[in-house]
């Protein structure tokens, strides 16, 4: 029987790991993710989780040990955030290139400098070109569910890509919410044992992993990572469907909210989606035709679903906690790519907000709405807008 309880997203991530039964976990403490390895340590110490937990000396070694273990053919898991993920950067490419289905739970946190431990998505967004799949959780239940889903997708033979699941620092990592812990038997059925077909470091079938590729072979190796990302799109839908059947919770790459006759659709990810949905309700009460959409899956980028969504809106307002300097947010870039060659397309307006743990309030969203309405009315507008800036101290 599933257990209904309350817990923080970090605990939910540790529970997901426990349910997925990875054989090797390697982790290093970092705010706001530290509770994940702490909780896992408890599980291991109590014999509730039979995993080798390697208490490494850095995040670089955490992911390196995961790559070694995954190359040896076992399920592996780690958790990190921010600078820790940035320190892993080099090895993230390697894990994807070697097609190792490692899963990382990330407590989404800003990057230095200045050092800041609070929430935005710059850490995971900065890893969007590594080849990893990326899921973002809106709440603690999603954090748990998406980690289980991540293992299932990552280990699919057509995918074989590492996957990171992001959940917002403090807003989720340290906030207690109701969570349903699924039944272990059902999870066992859902995930099954990981049986590596290509990576196993077995003396009976010695192979060489992590080769050097000359220009004659490198592009093909990279292309297979592209192909695997493409394959993941269908696999994710299948796994979402299977998950719903087994556990009763429905997921989709993009979750829409009151978009049907919407003129302005606010698009975001993670915990901000909750605020935005409430804001849409508030606007609807005032008679403003607004809707919301949340990307649960960011990589592979759900371009088709974005096009579908775009068909329903006149203005898409992208609310994002990340920035590419001199360009704008990552969603703005990705939505532009998905829509650029469409005959009919909405206007895209980009809003950079909530960086480094800055609260996003209705007042901020009002500011975004006002600019979006200008765009809707055909007036001049800024494409990229920093919302909630304290201009008085600049």
């Amino acid at each position: 029987m599933p257990i209904r309880t309350v817990m923080k997203a970090n605990e939910a991530a540790a529970w997901a790991a426990k349910l997925a039964k990875p054989k090797v976990i390697a982790a290093f403490p970092i705010t706001p993710s530290t509770l994940v390895p702490e909780k896992i340590s408890e599980f291991v110490a109590n014999g509730e989780l039979e995993a080798e937990f390697i208490k490494v000396e850095s995040e670089h070694s955490a992911i390196s040990a995961c790559v070694g273990a995954s190359a040896a053919g076992v399920r592996t898991f780690t958790a990190t955030a921010s600078q820790g993920l940035a320190l892993m950067h080099e090895v993230l490419f390697i894990a994807a290139g070697m097609r190792l289905p490692i899963v990382i739970a990330v407590g989404n946190r800003s990057l230095s400098a200045p050092i800041n431990i609070w929430n935005d998505w710059q850490d995971t967004i900065s890893e969007r070109d590594t080849g990893w799949l990326q899921f973002y959780a809106e709440n603690n239940q999603e954090a748990l569910d998406l980690i289980l889903i991540a293992f299932k997708v990552a280990e699919n033979e057509k995918v074989l890509l590492p996957t990171m699941v992001g959940f917002d620092a403090f807003i989720l990592t340290h906030t207690v919410e109701p969570v349903e812990i699924p039944d272990q038997e059902l999870v066992d059925e859902f995930l099954g044992e990981y049986n590596p077909k290509y990576a196993y470091l077995d003396p009976e079938k010695p192979i060489t992993q992590g080769t050097l590729a000359f220009p004659a072979h490198y592009m093909e190796a990279r292309y297979t990572v592209w192909e695997a990302n493409e394959n993941a799109k269908k696999v994710i839908d299948e796994v979402f469907a299977e998950f719903e059947k087994k556990f009763g919770r429905k997921y989709s790459k993009i979750e829409e909210y009151r978009t049907d006759d919407a003129e302005i659709v606010f698009v975001t990810m993670g915990s901000l989606a909750g605020t935005v949905k409430e804001y849409v309700d508030y606007l609807r009460e005032k008679g403003i035709k607004a809707g919301a959409a949340k990307l649960t899956v960011y990589r592979p980028f759900p371009a088709e679903e974005v096009r579908e969504l775009a068909g329903k809106a006149k203005v898409i307002a992208l609310l994002e906690k990340n920035i590419t300097f001199s360009i704008g947010g990552a969603l703005f870039q990705d939505f532009s790519r998905a829509l650029i060659n469409q005959k009919e397309k909405p206007i895209l307006v980009d809003f950079i907000l909530g960086l480094g743990g800055r609260d996003v309030t209705f007042k901020d969203l009002d500011e975004a709405l006002e600019i979006s309405r200008k765009a809707l009315a055909g007036e001049e507008f800024e494409e990229v807008n920093w919302i909630g800036l304290r201009k008085e101290i600049l």
Partner: protein
């Protein structure tokens, strides 16, 4: 005449056709290391193949694993430059959970070990993984084209320690990673050399058989980087031992008061007290070692630099608890 048995297994884990330079001392080291490992695994577990290799980026990685080929006949993985020890930790943990018997061999060059991989190495040793870390020490970043590492010896020319008006070449003493490894109080640490392959094989076997981490630092000639004649590779490594430049020692459980020193040969007189080597009187001057290598050629115009080198070698031996005398060449 009765046919003597080969002193080492004829099983091969390192196949020809790899792209190492002709006369590569590191290639010899890896060939012997894997054979030694195989013998140890056979003796310990009854399975000569019970090992896997995790290797750092470096010469021996790029010459051996070029897609779609591989020179390796053992399970082998390469991740990056600085993390062979961390990757090996992961492989070892996975093997433990899989209930697989055997040992993991981590391999890195001096750059990948003494410099960029130092932290991962320390972590692996401290966590007591059942891994042997083999550092093949050719005393510079050879893969990128001969740049100095912290394991480059005093006086050596490299492309980033060129001798010049204000430079004698590398101006820092060599960093001895084996001593740092031993400070982790791991079961077994040794230095070895391709100049004494029987000693090297013996030590690799011992390292492979201990329970827990071990570290072996093997001196390997790089004819390309040392500017030395191809055929002299083993001879040069042997001269390093015989002249006192390369000490052969073993440290068990970090017991620095009971370091086992191997007799260097070359006519050196070894003085023992209570079984411990306390003094060595070398007979061959270090010049015999230096003169065969282009990387030290410039020093012969600066004999004071060679004397400085002698002082540094003495100081290094002092750390090992051995008083050495190093002769000057006869006029």
């Amino acid at each position: 005449m009765a046919v003597r048995k080969s002193p080492i297994t004829t099983r091969e884990y390192w196949a020809p056709g790899h792209a190492a330079c002709a006369g590569c001392g590191c290639a010899t080291a890896l060939k012997l290391a894997t054979k030694a490992f195989s013998e140890a695994m056979e003796e310990k577990y009854g399975d000569p193949n019970a090992f896997a290799i995790a290797q750092a980026t470096g010469c021996m990685e790029v010459v051996s694993a070029v897609f779609p080929y591989t020179a390796w006949k053992a399970p082998w993985v390469h991740v990056a430059f600085e993390n062979a020890a961390a990757a090996a930790s992961g492989v070892e943990a996975a093997w433990k959970k899989l209930g697989r018997k055997g040992k993991i061999l981590a391999i890195g060059g001096d750059g990948g070990t003494a410099d960029i991989g130092m932290q991962a190495l320390s972590g692996m040793l401290e966590r007591r993984h059942n891994v042997v870390y083999l550092m093949y020490d050719n005393e510079a970043y050879m893969n990128t084209g001969i740049q100095r590492s912290s394991s480059t010896p005093y006086g050596a020319w490299t492309t980033t320690s060129p001798p010049g008006k204000y430079s004698i070449g590398e101006d820092k003493p060599k960093k001895w990673v084996a001593l740092i490894a031993a400070a982790h109080q791991v079961p077994y640490v040794a230095t070895a050399s391709i100049g004494n392959p029987f000693d090297f094989v013996k030590k690799m076997k011992k390292a492979a058989k201990v329970d827990g981490p071990a570290f072996v630092q093997v001196h390997c000639t790089c004819p390309t980087g040392w500017k030395s004649p191809l055929e002299k590779g083993v001879e040069i490594a042997r001269l390093a031992i015989e002249t006192g430049v390369w000490p052969l020692f073993e440290i068990e459980n970090g017991d620095f008061f009971n370091i086992k020193i191997q007799a260097p040969g070359g006519g050196a007189k070894v003085k023992r007290e209570g079984g411990r080597v306390v003094a060595i009187e070398f007979k061959k001057p270090i010049e015999e070692y230096l003169k065969l290598q282009g990387r030290f050629k410039h020093l012969f115009k600066q004999p004071e630099a060679i004397d400085e080198m002698r002082e540094q070698i003495k100081a290094m031996w002092k750390v090992l608890g051995v008083d050495v005398t190093l002769p000057k060449p006869e006029e």
